[in-house]
Every structure is written in structure tokens, then in C-alpha cells.
């Protein structure tokens, strides 16, 4: 069978699976969940196959990259169906973010900037939903905006999800009074700079075209001095760094942030310098925040996948290094690589 035929077959199989899942989602099929015994058997088989790969590698046979891809695929997908729970411990930066929001009195105005797009949504959307949930639980007024074009649409999705949650289902939230989505504005960090003197100049209308002055929640908000707390969800530029440099340093905004795992290390110096009240880093940060607020969601659910995939990557790194030292044939190993 040629590679082309294999690729076409793989695409057909994936398409069929996607269609089945889509039909299932529309028809509200129940979630498949493996029992603990099945989960343990799967984990055992996974470990056994990794040991087998280690033996093969020590013998001087590097496995193909497709095998690595297969293991990562298994490590990411199968835990989604496992009913195993993990103890998630909150890190100090997540606790400090929670405490800073918890200290806000009811009615405080919170500005949330959605500076990301769908590729980063698996990490940042759970943070957005949990943060919004916390705000509405505490009766805080929420204003959302985006420095990225797709940000406000992600905000819209998060609102939809939060309002349909069990805890908030019975409560009524009025658009324009309890929350507002100001939409996207071009200009990157200059938008933050301009908001320091006038919000209205950057957002003359909201996400759906309502005039700024017609929205009771924001019509009296002139600039950052009328905002009690800011939260930035960032996947790059413009994002948290710009909010700190202009919003915090220039206009004295109280800022918390949620970042992708890749970007979070860049933000730690600001956190240590107290320019941020707290930080949620990647899926782990989202899960910790969910546990802390008592609203377990996607972050908590996906952490099992993350644990498994980290373990698989570590296992492959160890296998590669064990072989590197034990074989004593470094050049041969390199030569055997594809």
C-alpha cells in the first residue's frame, strides 16, 4: 500500500470519527467513560509498550517518528474517556489571583481582555469561563473586549457557556447592565494607551453595534480609573506584556492574567515584581483555578490528558538518552534516525 493511499485512508477514518462525534454532540449522546479497571489495563499496556520501545532502542534500533506520534495521540485522547481523578494542588500565583478577585466588593467593574484566537482556546477558554463564572457568582459587573479579532467572539462563547451552567441557570443577567462585550479594536498596545484617557474613543459602539452611551454599565466609565480590576487572557502579542507596560505601569491598573503555557514563563518576572496580582499558566493554571473556585470544567478534565502526554514525552526523552549512553554507538544511533 502506497503512502498516499495510507494518508487518504487515515483522512477517511478521521472524517468518519468526526462525523460520529458531531452527530453524537447534536443528539446529546451520553459521554463514554471507561471503568477504573479498563483505565488501569490501558495504562499497563501503554507502559509495557514503552518498555518494549526502550529495549528496541538499546539494541540500536530507533523507532519511526510515526510510532511517537501514535503514542502521543493515545496519551492525549484515551484519558478523555477515563474516569480517573487527580488531586490538583493550587500554586501560589493562582491562589493570589483568586484572592485578588475575591476581595472585590459586589458591583465592582471588571474589565476582561480576550487577546487570543481559537488555536489557544483549549488552554485559555476554560480560564475565561471560570473567571466569568466567579465574577457573576460574586455579582461583579463584567466588561469584555479584545485586542485580537477573534477575542470578542471567544468572549461571546464563554458568556453562553457560563449562563447555561447549573449554578447560574436560575439567575438573570441583563446585557448592558450586568455585562457588556465591547468588541475588537485595531491598534494593539495603542488601544490600551488610548483607553487610559477615553474608553469611548476606542469603542464608540459595542460588539453588536449599540452606542457606548446607550449602555448603562459603561456610559459612566471614562477611563481606567473607573475600573476596579482587569484580567487579561493572552496568547501572544498584543497581550499581557503590553497590558503590564501600559495598563499597569502607566495607568495603575490592578491586573491579573491567564496565559498559554508557552507564554507564561515570560510573565514570571512581572509576577515577582508585583506588577500582576496573579497568573494562570496554561491548562494547569486553568485546572487549579477551577478547583479553587469550585467549578470543575474542561481544564480539570483535560489535565489527565496533559499528565499522560507529559509522561509519554518524558518517557521518550529518557528512552532516547538511555540508548544514547548504553549503546556507546552515538554515531550509529544518529545514522539510524530517519
Amino acid at each position: 500500500m502506497s503512502t498516499k493511499v495510507k494518508e487518504i485512508l487515515a483522512v477517511i477514518v478521521i472524517t468518519i470519527f468526526c462525523l460520529i462525534f458531531y452527530i453524537g454532540k447534536i443528539n446529546g449522546w451520553e459521554t463514554i467513560e471507561f471503568s477504573s479497571t479498563v483505565s488501569m489495563v490501558i495504562i499497563f499496556l501503554l507502559v509495557l509498550s514503552l518498555v518494549w520501545i526502550l529495549i528496541l532502542t538499546i539494541k540500536g534500533k530507533m523507532i519511526e517518528r510515526r510510532i511517537v506520534f501514535l503514542f502521543v495521540g493515545i496519551a492525549v485522547t484515551l484519558p478523555l474517556f477515563m474516569g480517573i481523578s487527580q488531586k490538583i494542588k493550587s500554586s501560589p500565583e493562582v491562589v493570589s489571583l483568586y484572592e485578588s478577585v475575591d476581595a472585590l466588593p459586589a458591583g465592582s467593574k471588571v474589565l476582561i481582555s480576550f487577546d487570543y484566537d481559537p488555536p489557544s482556546a483549549p488552554e485559555l477558554q476554560p480560564m475565561a469561563e471560570t473567571f466569568l463564572h466567579l465574577c457573576f457568582e460574586k455579582n461583579l459587573k463584567v466588561i469584555t473586549m479584545g485586542l485580537w479579532p477573534q477575542g470578542p467572539q471567544q468572549a461571546s462563547l464563554a458568556f453562553e457557556k457560563v449562563f447555561s451552567s447549573e449554578k447560574l441557570k436560575g439567575r438573570k443577567f441583563e446585557y448592558g447592565v450586568d455585562y457588556v462585550n465591547l468588541g475588537f479594536q485595531t491598534g494593539n498596545e495603542f488601544v490600551i494607551q488610548r483607553m487610559g484617557s477615553s474608553f469611548k474613543s476606542m469603542f464608540p459602539t459595542d460588539y453588536v453595534g449599540n452606542a457606548y452611551d446607550d449602555l448603562p454599565l459603561v456610559k459612566n466609565i471614562k477611563n481606567f480609573s473607573n475600573i476596579d480590576y482587569c484580567f487579561n487572557l493572552s496568547a501572544g502579542f498584543p497581550g499581557t506584556v503590553e497590558w503590564i507596560q501600559i495598563g499597569v505601569d502607566r495607568f495603575g491598573v490592578l491586573l491579573g492574567a491567564g496565559n498559554t503555557a508557552v507564554q507564561a514563563p515570560q510573565i514570571y518576572p512581572y509576577l515577582n515584581a508585583k506588577q500582576l496580582t496573579g497568573l494562570l499558566g496554561g491548562m494547569n493554571g486553568a485546572a487549579e483555578f477551577e478547583v479553587l473556585t469550585g467549578n470543575p470544567g474542561k481544564g480539570t478534565k483535560f489535565m489527565l490528558s496533559q499528565s499522560f502526554s507529559h509522561m509519554v514525552v518524558i518517557a521518550f526523552v529518557l528512552i532516547g538518552n538511555v540508548a544514547f549512553f548504553m549503546s556507546g554507538r552515538k554515531s550509529q544511533l544518529l545514522g539510524n534516525e530517519e
Partner: protein
């Protein structure tokens, strides 16, 4: 004049932004607001220009049947399809329940997430093949990566359940992130900051002219 006018505008705008940071009072703050508004307008125009340019390049690629022209055709069809759907639904095209919203939720989000998630597979493969303890620095990096990767997921603490509270892998990962990592980041940031200051000064003073299409 084609060079002098842009250089003059750059100098005025750059200098006013520097001054307004230290003197946030009229007329400097007003000037800064005015220039910020203009920046937003220019960037909005640049987005349109970028989209039109993408269309032009894609059309030419399809017309000349250049390599991979099929992908360019997909770009054109997708662009026109989404634009027509969006425009046909008026100002509320992004609200839940619209066709645009359906496309966003069920086509754009899964496709974007798929592209990004491919990274996980390549990272794993690259780590297996190249992440070796070849020398002291590489070993240090490997050890740090090992502890941080384990410490950032709950399973890490589970593996060292016998360790007392405060000495678990999550604490070690936090220490790595907050101390050596933050110190390294800070050093890089200071270096970048100094570089930005010197380059900005060169641009404002008209010494650096490459942005207007010329050399020194």
C-alpha cells in the same frame, strides 16, 4: 520629499510619545491621543490592504498554475464564502445562531485547534530524537525540563507521594519557574529593552532609515 516627509512624521510622532510618557499634560497627552487614534485607523486600513493583497497573490498563483495553486484556490473560495455569509447577515452576523457563528464554531475553531495541536506531536518526536545529555548545559536543561514537566501536572506529586509537603515536585517546578527561569527571562528582557531604546532612538532621529526603503 518622498523620504523627508516620512522621516519628519516619524520624528514628530516618536518624540511626542516619549515626551507624553514623562509629561502627561496638554498638549503632549492630546497629541498622544490623536496619534493613537490615527494608529488604529491606519492599522484597520492595513488589515483591508493585507486581505486584498492575499487575494491578489492567490489569484495570480491560480492563474499561473504555480506549485500548490490548489491551496491558493481554497484560500480564495474560503475567503469569498465567509465574507459573503458575514455580509449577508448584517451587523449581527457574529451572534449565536447565525450561519457565520456556525462556521466559526464548527469549522474555524476545530481547524485552528488542529493546526496548533500538531505541535504536540512534533515536540514529542523532536524530544525523543534530539533532546540528549550531550554536555553539561544540555544535561542541566534536560534535568530542569524533566522536573518542570512532571511538576506542572498532578501526576508529578503522585509519583513522589512519600516526600513531605513543601518538598514535592510541584514545589520544585515552582522554584525553577520563579527563580532561575525568571532571572534568565529578566536578563533577556533587559537586553531586549536596551535594544529597543537604541533602535527607537535611531529611527526617531532619522539615523535608521530601512523602514522607508533605504539604507543608512
Amino acid at each position: 520629499m518622498r523620504r523627508e516627509v516620512p522621516l519628519f512624521i516619524t520624528a514628530i510622532v516618536g518624540a511626542s510619545f516619549v515626551i507624553q510618557y514623562f509629561i502627561p499634560h496638554p498638549p503632549f497627552n492630546n497629541l498622544s491621543d490623536w496619534f493613537s487614534d490615527w494608529f488604529s485607523i491606519i492599522q484597520a486600513c492595513a488589515i483591508i490592504l493585507g486581505a486584498l493583497n492575499l487575494m491578489k497573490i492567490s489569484f495570480l498563483k491560480v492563474k499561473d498554475k504555480k506549485p500548490d495553486w490548489v491551496y491558493a484556490a481554497v484560500i480564495i473560495v474560503s475567503f469569498l464564502f465567509i465574507t459573503i455569509i458575514g455580509l449577508s447577515e448584517g451587523e449581527e452576523f457574529r451572534l449565536p445562531g447565525t450561519k457565520f457563528d456556525w462556521i466559526y464554531n464548527f469549522i474555524f475553531i476545530p481547524l485552528s485547534a488542529t493546526m496548533f495541536s500538531i505541535l504536540a506531536f512534533f515536540v514529542a518526536s523532536a524530544s525523543y530524537r534530539a533532546f540528549r545529555a550531550r554536555n553539561f548545559e544540555a544535561t542541566l536543561l534536560l534535568i530542569a525540563a524533566f522536573f518542570v514537566m512532571l511538576g506542572r501536572v498532578p501526576i508529578g506529586d503522585l509519583l513522589v507521594w512519600f516526600m513531605p509537603e513543601g518538598y514535592q515536585l510541584s514545589n520544585l517546578a515552582s522554584w525553577v519557574m520563579n527563580v532561575p527561569q525568571a532571572a534568565g527571562q529578566r536578563a533577556i528582557m533587559i537586553g531586549i529593552g536596551l535594544g529597543i531604546v537604541s533602535t527607537s532612538l535611531r529611527v526617531i532621529l532619522g539615523i535608521e532609515r530601512s523602514h522607508i526603503g533605504g539604507g543608512e
